[in-house]
Structures are given as structure tokens and as C-alpha cells.
């Protein structure tokens, strides 16, 4: 009973903070304006790549390229939104609304509070993702061959990949606790680094060799490659870096790296929040 109460309380924190996050994300506008804004950015990103292909390759562009970048682009919507969204919470609560001290002294688990706030961005990313998939189906020569047998594996990899992003978001959030407002550029930069190094819109094999080695140990890279293989129904994609590595092995790597991220995120978050408290900067406003 006590255990049930304990988990009930934890899920209550996540639910409440997710609801708060959603209200903050969406309550400034009419739903349709909010929907337009949520839709328009990912569509524009998609069209940038489509027109780059059209410009460089003309109508002869191989569908393999489209499949590759499209899946990467869709998954990256979650990476960007959740990663950026969680660390942005610190700036919103500390500098904009100036409520962080009240949240800090309330009886909620801070770690779970930030996870919950990230869920709001997950919902926004899911809407963008749905629109992008619909646009992709309309405008691109996509060929998805996911089998029914591959679906559970895809869902598992999606869940694990997503969870790993939440943990990375918490690490960013912990760093942000001891940074001034301009620290939000850090989370933008980290998302940008993932955009380059994880082969979101081009194969990792196009990168210089030293960067390929770094790319091959980032969980997002595993997540992208697993998703591409399962959605396209193939053992290999056009990215030569992963040739010779089985999907099962990639799944194992993704799982292990996520567990490591989980442990590290708890330790790092606790350390940074203690540091911020000892320096007296938890509710600091910088006006940068």
C-alpha cells in the first residue's frame, strides 16, 4: 500500500507539472493560432531539405536519400523539443515568471517536476511529428516497409530513445541551474551538435573520420539508425558507418547508454542543484 502511495505521489508530480507545462506552452493563444505555430516550423524545416535535394539533384534524386533524411528529421523533432524544452524551464521559472524559489520549497521532487515539464514539449513534438509525416507522405517519394513483426521492436526503441532524451534534458537542465539566461544558447548548441553528429539529415559516413567515432557513441545515433532500419524494413541503410552491426546490437547499445544516462542524470542533477543552492543562485535573475 505504501509503495502504491509512493508511486501514486510520484506520478502525480509528473502529471501536474506536465499539465502546467502544457498550459504555459499553449495558453497564450487561441488553439488554432497555437496549432499553426506548432505546425509551421517543422514543415518549413522539412521543405528546406526537400528544396536542397531538388536544387542539388533535380528530379533524379534517389528515394533512399528522402527516406533517410525524412526519418531522421521526424525523430529529431523529439530530440530538439524535449532537450531544449526541459532546460528552458529553468529560464521560464527563474527569470521570466520568477517562481522557481516557490517550486523549490514546495514538497515536490525537483527531478520529476522537470521530467513532467518536458512532457508538454513531447506533446508539441508529437503534433509537429504527425504533421511532418502527413506532409512527407504527400510530397515525398517515401517507401516505408515496416513489417508487423518489427513494430514492437520499433516501439521499444522509440520509448528507450525518448527516455534517453529526457535524461539528457535533465543534464542540460542541471547545467542551466548554474548558468545565466544566455545559457539557453547552450541547449540550442547541444541540439545543433546532435543535428550534425548523429546523422539526422545526412549519413554519418559523410563526416570526417574523427567525428564519426564520436557520433557512433551517442545514443541518438543508435536511435536514428534503429528507427530507419525498422521503418524501411532493411538490415542496412545508406549510412556505411553501421554496416556490419546488427539491429539487436544497436538496441543493446541504446539500452545500456540510456541506463548510464539515467544514473548520471540523477547524480549530476543533485550535485548541480546543491551547487546552485550553496552559491545562492537558485532564484537569481540576470536580465541578460
Amino acid at each position: 500500500m505504501a509503495v502504491k502511495d509512493f508511486y501514486g505521489r510520484l506520478s502525480g508530480i509528473v502529471k501536474s507539472s506536465a499539465w502546467l507545462g502544457w498550459q504555459l506552452e499553449s495558453n497564450w493563444a487561441d488553439p488554432w493560432i497555437f496549432a499553426v505555430i506548432t505546425i509551421i516550423r517543422p514543415l518549413a524545416s522539412l521543405f528546406i531539405i526537400i528544396f536542397m535535394f531538388r536544387f542539388a539533384l533535380g528530379p533524379a534524386a534517389s528515394p533512399d536519400f528522402f527516406n533517410f533524411f525524412f526519418i531522421g528529421n521526424v525523430i529529431y523533432l523529439y530530440v530538439y523539443n524535449v532537450l531544449f524544452g526541459i532546460s528552458q524551464v529553468i529560464f521560464e521559472d527563474r527569470e521570466h515568471y520568477e517562481v522557481i524559489k516557490y517550486i523549490y520549497i514546495s514538497p515536490v521532487n525537483w527531478y520529476l517536476y522537470f521530467i513532467g515539464r518536458g512532457f508538454a514539449r513531447f506533446i508539441v513534438a508529437s503534433v509537429s511529428c504527425a504533421v511532418t509525416i502527413a506532409a512527407g507522405m504527400l510530397f515525398l517519394p517515401l517507401k516505408f516497409n515496416m513489417t508487423a513483426a518489427a513494430f514492437p521492436a520499433f516501439m521499444l526503441s522509440f520509448a528507450v530513445g525518448l527516455v534517453s532524451i529526457f535524461f539528457m534534458g535533465i543534464i542540460m537542465c542541471a547545467l542551466t541551474l548554474v548558468m545565466a539566461r544566455h545559457g539557453n544558447m547552450m541547449s540550442e548548441s547541444i541540439s545543433g551538435i546532435f543535428f550534425i553528429s548523429c546523422g539526422v539529415i545526412f549519413p554519418i559516413s559523410a563526416l570526417p573520420e574523427w567525428l564519426q567515432k564520436i557520433s557512433a557513441v551517442i545514443p541518438v545515433s543508435y536511435w536514428l539508425e534503429i528507427s530507419r532500419r525498422l521503418i524501411l524494413g532493411t538490415d542496412n541503410t545508406i549510412d556505411g558507418v553501421w554496416h556490419g552491426i546488427s539491429t539487436g546490437s544497436l538496441m543493446a547499445r541504446l539500452g545500456v547508454s540510456t541506463v548510464i544516462l539515467f544514473i548520471f542524470s540523477i547524480l549530476f542533477f543533485n550535485y548541480m542543484s546543491m551547487l546552485a543552492r550553496s552559491k545562492g543562485i537558485i532564484d537569481r535573475t540576470t536580465s541578460y
Partner: protein, 273 residues
């Protein structure tokens, strides 16, 4: 305007510009992020072309476009949204109390940002050029430089116009501003020549001055530039001149109008909207 008023406004312009010019040196972390951040999408999109074995001039197009994103980002977040920050921090009321025109504050912001962005774009472009080994074939350094300056002037005039909306609006305008990022990168052809969009869409995109500025600069700086031209360079320069004048006049009109509404409805001091 009397001589005394003119001097006050010129001093106001310099004071606001001074903060922007000197501020960058006082906070080196800004410099790192503002040089480093635009490089990330540049590299990503350059690698897309590289993975397709595209000609090196295409990489040059991306690097130039990517470097120019610094201007657009500065206009959005350093110009247009600045009044939002000023209002949040309480500075906006101080500006209103000063014995000078609000337009002088905006012009000062634009000059200060334009100055620092000018160097940022050049440095980012040079780093990108170095990383990807791009060769330039400049048709005329004078016209390339003139087009660059004119583009900055026109884009910052547009930024001044957008800034006036923040006298009235808060989080709603802030969020709407985010819509002007990727869609503008797409419409203005930051990563591919705008001609690829076709003429009707390209013509609409030309209302954003950076579209024509980028197209003209690509024509002047790269061998394959003229092949992908949307309009002749001369026509683009003339349109940029016209847009600068229109947006500057628009900024003056909107600032006056929206400042009046803001005062009447008591929105100039409203925080946490």
C-alpha cells in the same frame, strides 16, 4: 526638429548603439555562442550537399546563407523582441521618460546590432570557408560589399518595424516571432538559391530583404552564382534600396501608432503577459 532636439536624439542613438557595440566585448560567452551557434546548421547543411557530391559552390551557397542567419537571428531576437525584454526588466519606461524620440532608441539598437553583426557574419563565413575549403570568384568586391551593407540596412529597418509590436504584445508576439525562423530560412533561400522556389513564391519571399541580398551576393561571389540567379544584381540592389526606405518609414509610423495605443491602454508597463 530644433538643433537641440536633434543633438539629444543623436546622443540617444549613440548611447543605445554604444551598449550593443561594447556589450559584446564585456561578455565573451556571447561571442562564443553567437559565432559557434550559426556554424552548426551551416556544417549540417554543407554535409548534406557533400553527401550528394554536389559542386563546392553549393557548399559556398550554404556557408554564405548560414553566416547570414546571424543577421536574421539578431533582427528577430536582438531587435524585434528587444522591447519585450526591456519591458520585462523595467527599462522601457525609462526610455519613454528620456527626452528623446523612441525612434532614436530603435535606430541606436539597429546601428549597434548592425555593427556587431557585420563582423559576426564575416567571421562565421571565413570559418566556414576554411572548414570546407571554398573558393570564391568575386565579380566585384565593391558591389559585394555594397550589397552586404544594403542588406543589413534593409533587414534592420524591417526589424525596427517588428520591434514596435512589442510595445503592445507580450508572449503572443514572442511566440509568433519563432514562426519567422525556419519558414524565413526556407522562403529566403538561406540554404539553396531562391530561384528553386519558382518565381511567384520567390517574389513573395523578396519582401524579406535578406532574400534578394543573399541572391545578389551569391551571384557576385561564386562562379555558379549567376546560373542560379533569381533577378539581375542591379534590380536586386534597387529593390533593396526601396525596401529599406519603405520599412524605415513603416517603422516610424508603427512606432508612433503603437506607442500611443500602448500608453492609452496602459500596456507599456505590463509584465508576465
Amino acid at each position: 526638429m530644433s538643433m537641440n532636439e536633434l543633438i539629444k536624439n543623436l546622443r540617444g542613438i549613440w548611447a543605445r548603439a554604444y551598449v550593443r557595440i561594447v556589450g559584446v566585448n564585456r561578455e565573451p560567452s556571447w561571442l562564443i555562442f553567437e559565432l559557434f551557434f550559426p556554424l552548426l546548421p551551416i556544417c549540417s547543411f554543407a554535409f548534406v550537399y557533400k553527401s550528394m557530391n554536389a559542386p563546392s559552390d553549393y557548399l559556398g551557397f550554404v556557408i554564405l546563407g548560414g553566416a547570414m542567419t546571424a543577421i536574421w537571428m539578431n533582427v528577430l531576437w536582438g531587435m524585434a523582441a528587444q522591447f519585450f525584454w526591456e519591458r520585462e526588466s523595467g527599462n522601457l519606461t525609462l526610455y519613454m521618460l528620456c527626452p528623446m524620440s523612441t525612434m532614436a532608441v530603435l535606430v541606436g539598437m539597429a546601428l549597434g546590432s548592425g555593427f556587431s553583426t557585420f563582423f559576426r557574419v564575416i567571421i562565421t563565413f571565413m570559418i566556414g570557408k576554411l572548414i570546407f575549403g571554398i573558393t570564391l570568384h568575386v565579380a566585384s568586391y565593391f558591389w559585394l560589399f555594397a550589397t552586404f551593407i544594403l542588406t543589413i540596412a534593409a533587414v534592420f529597418s524591417l526589424g525596427m518595424m517588428m520591434a514596435s509590436f512589442f510595445l503592445l504584445y507580450g508572449r503572443d508576439a514572442w511566440n509568433i516571432l519563432t514562426v519567422f525562423m525556419e519558414p524565413v530560412f526556407f522562403l529566403s533561400g538561406f540554404y539553396f538559391p531562391v530561384k528553386t522556389l519558382g518565381y511567384p513564391l520567390g517574389a513573395i519571399a523578396s519582401l524579406i530583404p535578406i532574400t534578394l541580398g543573399l541572391d545578389a551576393m551569391r551571384q557576385l561571389a561564386f562562379r555558379l552564382g549567376p546560373e542560379t540567379a533569381f533577378l539581375p544584381v542591379k534590380a536586386e540592389i534597387l529593390i533593396l534600396l526601396a525596401l529599406s526606405a519603405i520599412y524605415l518609414a513603416g517603422a516610424r509610423y508603427l512606432l508612433k501608432k503603437l506607442e500611443y495605443i500602448g500608453r492609452r491602454e496602459g500596456r507599456l508597463t505590463l509584465r508576465w503577459q
